[in-house]
């Protein structure tokens, strides 16, 4: 490392520092996925995917979606664009695992596919993303666990080697996986969810059409919408905030404010559902800068140990985390004041008051969406807390929370949410 880099390392912030305002010494923002949004796009998926180099497409989806007829319309769209459907994997479960990923990658080879099209929610899209890694580089999913570990040219220092073209048609408005570089997959033997993330895993194309969420059950619309809300709020207040991710988070929050409840109350409202797809898509973008927080740390552990659906866990944990973080100092509270402004809430007063106003707003929203408001309602018990704390402490999201969080504080947060 040369002298300049030494200086840069030091400027990039000392260990555990939380710079919540001013000019940041370093950040990275990545948004390489081509996004197409609007009405009646599914029939044109082949036309669009061809521009990304696809010719023989492996479609990855789940049984429920297949039965709705959506996948048939996707197949027609693929073929209308002059592409071939090489094969279909329609057995992705709600909580996908390494075995499903391996079978998906094998299907790609068996059918002679050269590209992958994911039609589904987070589990389907993450399965397709990791299957793409195995399809191109071989190995097994856990062997690729970690960040920025995919093969690169020039002895590992150069350009990351490309994966096969991947397109995503999200059928929930929450995870934003269609434009993120990370995938989460379960290792059922080890009872853990593990993450793989690297730049080539960004899908090449994301197609956002409200037709794809037309059959989405309202409860799922509510919980996935709260996942998007959590991405946007945590992304905005994370220690890794930056002006680029701020712009995405704020636009997402305004769309969520205007459309989440509307889409829940009026499931046939295409405009509201379309805007929710866009909100979720925008809300995930701060994670390209690692901007996220401990509501996610807590919820990942709830999912791994107690099988709590991710959006539901976020909906329950988020308000407690907001109150905890906002009380961590004026600089952190200032970020929450901006969020409160979007929702028309109190922006003045003490740090605690700002956090409480937003926390209460989120609690009321969660209740109005008919979602559980307590972890005890979704199978978490006092006896689980030690395991959950252990999981949350080891979660990457904990490192980028605006406020340092100890084991004792995690335990207290879980008890508050219980």
């Amino acid at each position: 490392m040369d002298e300049y880099d030494d200086d840069a390392t030091a400027r990039a912030g000392e260990f555990g520092s939380r710079q919540m305002a001013g000019f940041k010494p370093f950040y990275q923002f990545i948004a390489p996925t081509r996004v197409i949004a609007g009405y009646d796009l599914i029939g044109g998926i082949g036309f669009e995917f061809a521009k990304e180099g696809a010719k023989r497409v492996l479609i990855v989806t789940d049984q429920v979606l297949r039965e709705t007829g959506l996948v048939d319309r996707v197949i027609a769209g693929v073929e209308d664009g002059g592409l071939e459907v090489a094969g279909i994997v329609d057995g992705v479960p709600q909580d996908s695992d390494a075995g499903v990923v391996m079978r998906t990658a094998e299907a790609g080879h068996e059918h002679g596919a050269d590209s992958i099209l994911a039609v589904g929610g987070g589990s389907v899209m993450d399965t397709a993303k990791v299957a793409n890694v195995i399809f191109v580089h071989g190995g097994d999913p856990r062997g690729w666990e970690g960040y920025f570990g995919l093969p690169r040219d020039d002895d590992g220092q150069g350009r990351p080697q490309e994966l096969a073209p991947l397109a995503c048609i999200p059928t929930t408005a929450g995870t934003g996986s269609e434009v993120s570089f990370v995938a989460v997959v379960k290792d059922r033997d080890a009872h853990v969810k593990f993450q793989i993330g690297d730049i080539p895993m960004y899908p090449r194309l994301a197609l956002l059409d409200p037709e794809s969420t037309r059959t989405l059950p309202v409860k799922l619309a509510a919980s996935t919408g709260m996942d998007a809300m959590t991405h946007a709020i945590e992304g905005y207040v994370s220690s890794e905030w930056n002006p680029h991710s701020d712009a995405y988070a704020m636009a997402a929050l305004r769309l969520l404010r205007d459309n989440l409840h509307r889409a829940f109350e009026h499931p046939a409202d295409d405009e509201a559902r379309g805007n929710m797809l866009i909100a979720a898509n925008l809300a995930i973008q701060p994670t390209s800068s690692s901007a996220i927080g401990i509501a996610h740390s807590m919820s990942h552990a709830c999912g791994a140990h107690c099988d709590v659906p991710h959006g539901v866990a976020n909906a329950i944990n988020l308000p407690w985390v907001i109150e905890f973080n906002a009380a961590g100092g004026d600089e952190i509270a200032a970020r929450y004041r901006d969020v409160n402004d979007v929702f028309g809430l109190e922006t003045g007063g003490s740090a605690e008051a700002v956090g409480h106003a937003l926390g209460e707003h989120v609690r009321q929203l969660v209740a109005s969406l008919g979602l559980p408001t307590r972890l005890s309602q979704v199978g978490v018990t006092e006896a689980s807390i030690d395991l959950l704390v252990d999981g949350a402490m080891g979660d990457a999201c904990t490192l980028v929370n605006p406020r340092d969080t100890s084991e004792e504080e995690f335990a207290e947060l879980y008890r508050l949410a219980l």
């Binding site: 490392m1 880099d5 030494d6 390392t9 030091a10 990039a12 912030g13 000392e14 260990f15 555990g16 520092s17 370093f26 950040y27 990275q28 856990r142 666990e145 970690g146 960040y147 920025f148 570990g149 853990v192 593990f194 993450q195 220690s239 890794e240 800068s289 690692s290 252990d390 402490m393 080891g394 979660d395 990457a396 904990t398 490192l399 980028v400 340092d404 100890s406």
Partner: protein, 138 residues
Amino acid sequence: MAYFKDEQELYQYIGRLFQDLAADEELAPKFKKANTIVQYRYRNPDAQITTKLIEGEEGQVDLGPTELVHEVLMTMEADTAHNFWLGKVNITVALARGQMKAKGPVAKILKLVPLVKPVFPRYKKLLSDAGREDLIIP
């Protein structure tokens, strides 16, 4: 110019710190909660430290070649490691910039990160006691 002139010097300071931590009655049991074997590979100078952190087992720190099979691999410049132990490196930024690369179940060692904060003064003292104030960046 790199802080350490050769691998022996790196082992003398960073290696010694790992050995001290492994023998620390208060900290070692907490680090062993990671239940993993981590290998740190350094460049400029090239060096390798492998640590066994497994609950209920004796801690082990191997400087150089090892028979331990690592589960997590961390690679970085030796200077980055030195700066880290001085408390000067934001891990998130270091990972994003490629200054640190992590492979394997990284979550197992991320839970150790909050524990290392109190270790920074110990590293400074180790350098100071060895008469190497020149390595302590203000």
